[in-house]
């Protein structure tokens, strides 16, 4: 009995000792030297691993920044002060970049857009787009099943009354939502532009009005009210704010948009009340 006990202690202890030495040996012998600079830069990056920079993640970008001279400005999420900190750390000139935010160019919430059907399929915009385009009648507008909201790594997109609404103060402009929207409604615009035409329909104006109370009917009132080319009509008939030279936010009132498609960003958000159906989700 005692011998068995002693032998067990010895054998297990010996195995433990041998394994411990083996780990210590391999760890020392086959150690991979990592550049401490890369680790430092990775810590300074946001760490969201969103892939907005085009690299596989923050660690990949940190490596590229340190070893391959890629600008830390590639990170779309990085704040201006963060960019400055990294640039100072690496001793390179910080480049100025304008903050971009995503905007969903549609105002067709459930209470404004007409419905054509009851959709009971998979609650996902891309699936709904394949299967007849969801419940809303407009074939250009927001389907409203929150693909973009789920894709957002920062929780900046909220589904309000069946419409995706971006909170620009939370949005970091990584562009993940753009690629998942089957209708292509989301664009990155400079954060300083605070007024937009929230409609992307390329239907004939009368047809747009039929399916949505908030549609832009391309009447051109805003273009005339502005008169300086800061609001432009695009080739497919939709009207857009000129992002390089945006008009003052007061245009939303002075233009007298008949459908309310032209809105300041804040008013657009406030307009979409949170319906009880959404808050349940």
């Amino acid at each position: 009995m005692t011998t068995t006990f002693l032998a067990a202690v010895c054998v297990v202890g010996l195995i433990g000792l041998i394994l411990g030495c083996l780990i210590a040996f391999t760890a020392k012998k086959f150690d991979v030297e990592t550049d401490p600079k890369v680790d430092k830069v990775r810590e300074m990056l946001p760490g969201a691993n969103c892939g907005g920079c085009g690299f596989a993640g923050c660690a990949d970008l940190a490596d590229a920044v340190v070893n391959h001279g890629v600008s830390p400005g590639r990170c779309t999420v990085l704040s201006a002060s963060g960019l400055k900190a990294i640039s100072a750390f690496l001793g390179v000139e910080a480049e100025e970049k304008e903050k971009m935010v995503a905007v969903v160019f549609c105002g067709g919430s459930l209470s404004r857009a007409a419905r054509k059907a009851q959709y009971n399929g998979i609650m996902d915009c891309r699936s709904a787009n394949v299967a007849g385009g969801g419940g809303k009648a407009c074939s250009y507008g927001c389907i409203g099943y929150g693909c973009c909201a789920r894709a957002c790594p920062f929780g900046a997109i909220e589904m309000r009354d069946g419409l995706a609404v971006v909170h620009p103060e939370v949005c970091r402009g990584c562009g993940k939502c753009i690629s998942v929207c089957p209708r292509g409604l989301i664009r990155l615009v400079p954060a300083s532009v605070k007024i937009h035409v929230y409609c992307s329909s390329a239907d004939k104006p009368a047809a747009r009005r039929k399916v949505c109370a908030a549609a832009c009917i391309s009447c051109g009132k805003c273009i005339r009210a502005d008169g300086q080319g800061r609001v432009v009509k695009q080739e497919n008939g939709t009207i857009r704010i000129n992002n390089e030279n945006p008009p003052d936010v007061s245009l939303a009132e002075t233009a007298g948009c008949p459908t309310g498609a032209l809105q300041t960003e804040e008013a657009h958000r406030a307009l979409q009340s949170i319906s009880p159906e959404d808050s349940k989700k």
Partner: protein, 206 residues
């Protein structure tokens, strides 16, 4: 060994006595890394890799040291009761060493499996395979080559269950599920149904 014995070990480990769905081992990674097919694939690869190597190493240890009767000072001792302790220590250190070596010599493989390897250190599926190898043939243990094959097949079985489950969960994400069932609840129900489906394989081997 006749060839149908090998088939028995392989098919038995993958389908009939599937490590997750029939033996209920390795449930933690089964539920934890099955949200996305991509990560499930990485985990399956890592588990198969580690299982194969650890089955080999533990089988060698068991055969040569633990199940062999050692005579010290004229008294014979049987150390097979320490197998759990030894297996845990050996597997944990093995995973550590593999991780270091992979990082040095196979960076792409390390990139693919790297984050999953430390998770497997204490995975009960890995320990379970070692224990099953040791306990086979009335405690005599399987042969070294058979053990390695069994470990590999167990890993494949784990991978099969994990990939099936991950696909189901990805599909479930998009379905309308009653509120109390969302998340882990429906995942556990799904796992149960999947396990029942695998019970159908129990008559495959007579």
């Amino acid at each position: 060994m006749p060839s149908n014995e090998w088939l028995l070990i392989t098919v038995g480990a993958i389908l009939v006595n599937n490590v997750v769905l029939s033996r209920i081992l390795g449930i933690c990674p089964f539920l934890g890394v099955s949200k996305k097919l991509e990560t499930a694939l990485g985990m399956s690869g890592a588990v198969t890799f580690v299982l194969t190597i650890s089955s080999f190493v533990t089988a060698v240890l068991y055969k040569l040291l633990l199940s062999a009767e050692i005579t010290i000072c004229g008294i014979t001792v049987d150390l097979s009761f320490t197998k759990f302790l030894v297996f845990i220590v050996v597997i944990a250190s093995l995973v550590q060493i593999i991780e270091i070596l992979l990082r040095k010599f196979a960076p792409p493989l390390y990139q693919a499996l790297g984050i999953y390897l430390p998770l497997i250190t204490t995975n009960c599926a890995v320990l379970g395979a070692a224990e099953l190898n040791a306990g086979a043939n009335n405690g005599l243990g399987r042969g070294i080559l058979e053990s390695t094959v069994f470990g590999f097949a167990t890993g494949l079985g784990f991978g099969l269950a994990l990939l099936l489950f991950a696909s189901l969960r990805e599909r479930l994400e998009l379905s309308m599920i009653p509120r109390p069932f969302r998340g882990t609840a429906i995942a556990l129900v799904t796992a149960g149904i999947l396990a029942m489906a695998f019970m159908g394989f129990s008559l495959l081997v007579k």
